[in-house]
Amino acid sequence: MRFRTLKELAEISGAENKTLAEVMIEDQAAETGASPETIVAQMADYYQKMKEAVRIGLSEQNVSRSGLSGGDAVKVLDLVENGTPSSGDPSSRAMAYALAVSEVNASMGRIIATPTAGSCGIIPGVFVSSQERFGWSDEHMVNGLFAAGAIGYVIANNSFISGAEGGCQAEVGSAIGMAAGAMVELRGGSAEQAMHAVGLALKNTLGLICDPVAGLVEIPCIVRNGLGAVNALAAADMGLAGVRSAIPSDEVVSVMLEVGAAMPSGHRETGQGGLAQTPTGRKLTEGLMRGRKPLEPETEEPRAVQAETVE
């Protein structure tokens, strides 16, 4: 790719008078040797799968294999359709859709990792609800996914996108930043405005730990996806309104790296700290373990592989 930072991404976009999506598609074609048509077709397929996940999540009570989660998306949708949501209809609808996709994920349904499975609800929640609201075409939405991908590519390579490495800020935080920046472009904002929206969004999730109960992608992951979709819409609005991230977005990304590297391992997807180790978190974990036989240790000679750098 020709860009390593958000600033470079916005500069290429400005200098060549191209959208973030156009820059991403061109660079992806150059990097992989695949044709732009092939690349766009794959992303279009992914978007259809996201819409399908929203549909399934809203039409069924998706209960997870552990039984810990499920059924919250339809509750929020019911409030949107039959009540008066405090955060307004569009925000609550995005929240319901994001919860729906995350519940589908927890019940072993099919989702698109954006950027991971733990944060797979935010982008579909924002995108699918906004498409319905603004009457956008699928093609427009697919371009939005490339814009989100370009932003995520920079975050992933300068910081992290996995909770095990950098906490929830790296998963849900990254997804909110990606969705916010993409939303600015989808609504006709400039690349610069999009980049500010990314920084504004990321600042709000810095330090967020990854502390899932029993180590499973359910509590609190699903709820964070729902709330993350609302944050993404809000950050996009700030960007579109002309609010600037006083600390440049690339510098915010570097703070995510700094904070994630300093995060104790108990707060990085091990289930050993945070919400997972609250009295209730422990009780839920014990309930899941009850009657479950732990794996027998292997009987052959133990492996002598040396520990290597954990990537």
Partner: protein
């Protein structure tokens, strides 16, 4: 750059719930199946670290079985993969890995086929569904499966690697990464090469005809889920 393309950020398409514990596990199983090259009759799987602690909630066991059946990361049949494996007469047993593993999310698979063929894979799931294989058939060699990869078993003799690369060069096939390990001096060796293009049958035949080359196997995750074009 750890992440090289847009589909490692948006994607893969997968069944949940975890990109590392589920999608990555499918891929490790699939690579093991490709290395064996046929339907296994029995598979022993040792789970290490977080895989061993949380496999049941993440469906890591189902995912590994799904990969062994040749499923892609987004195949809905992953959820019933253990039952399907049993139906097909594939005996899969899970144990807790003992000793050091290269990563918190690691699995070791030992496969046997009815025709007597065996394969062994030690793989780690490093995040977002991306995997890193650390060991194949007892050789310390690396590959991710993201690129078309050829795995060559050969005798440790001068000139074998030069012959392999000459054949690839003559067919205009670029090598992106390459690793070699041997059991001992002048013993069996394994060379693994990640390529920029899919090798055709003619190229594979040429590689197999090289003196001292015993076996050439292709590993490529792109078969089912077209993540990396």
């Amino acid at each position: 750059m750890r992440f090289k393309n847009v589909f490692s950020i948006i994607g893969p398409s997968m069944v949940g719930p975890s990109s590392s514990h589920t999608a990555g596990a499918v891929r490790i199983g699939l690579i093991a199946r490709q290395l064996l090259g046929t339907k296994p009759s029995s598979v022993k799987i040792a789970l290490y670290g977080s895989f061993a602690e949380t496999y049941w909630g993440h469906g890591t066991d189902l995912a590994l079985a799904g990969g062994l059946l040749g499923y892609a990361t987004d195949d809905a049949r992953v959820a019933e993969a253990l039952e399907e494996a049993e139906r097909l007469g594939i005996e899969i047993t899970f144990v807790k890995g003992v000793g050091m593993a290269p990563h918190p999310n690691t699995a070791k698979l030992e496969l046997k086929a009815e025709n007597g063929r065996t394969a062994q894979v030690l793989g780690a799931s490093i995040g977002g569904g991306t995997v890193m294989i650390h060991e194949m058939n007892g050789f310390d060699v690396r590959c991710s499966g993201e690129y078309p990869t050829i795995v060559v078993l050969h005798d440790d003799r001068p000139g074998v690697i030069a012959s392999l690369t000459a054949v690839l060069g003559a067919s205009d096939t670029n090598i992106g990464y390459m690793g070699v390990d041997r059991k001992g001096r002048s013993a069996e060796a394994m060379t693994v090469m990640e390529l920029d293009s899919v090798p055709d049958q003619r190229l594979l035949t040429q590689l197999r005809q090289i003196e001292d080359v015993k076996e050439v196997t292709v590993i490529h995750l792109n078969g089912g889920e077209a993540k990396h074009q």
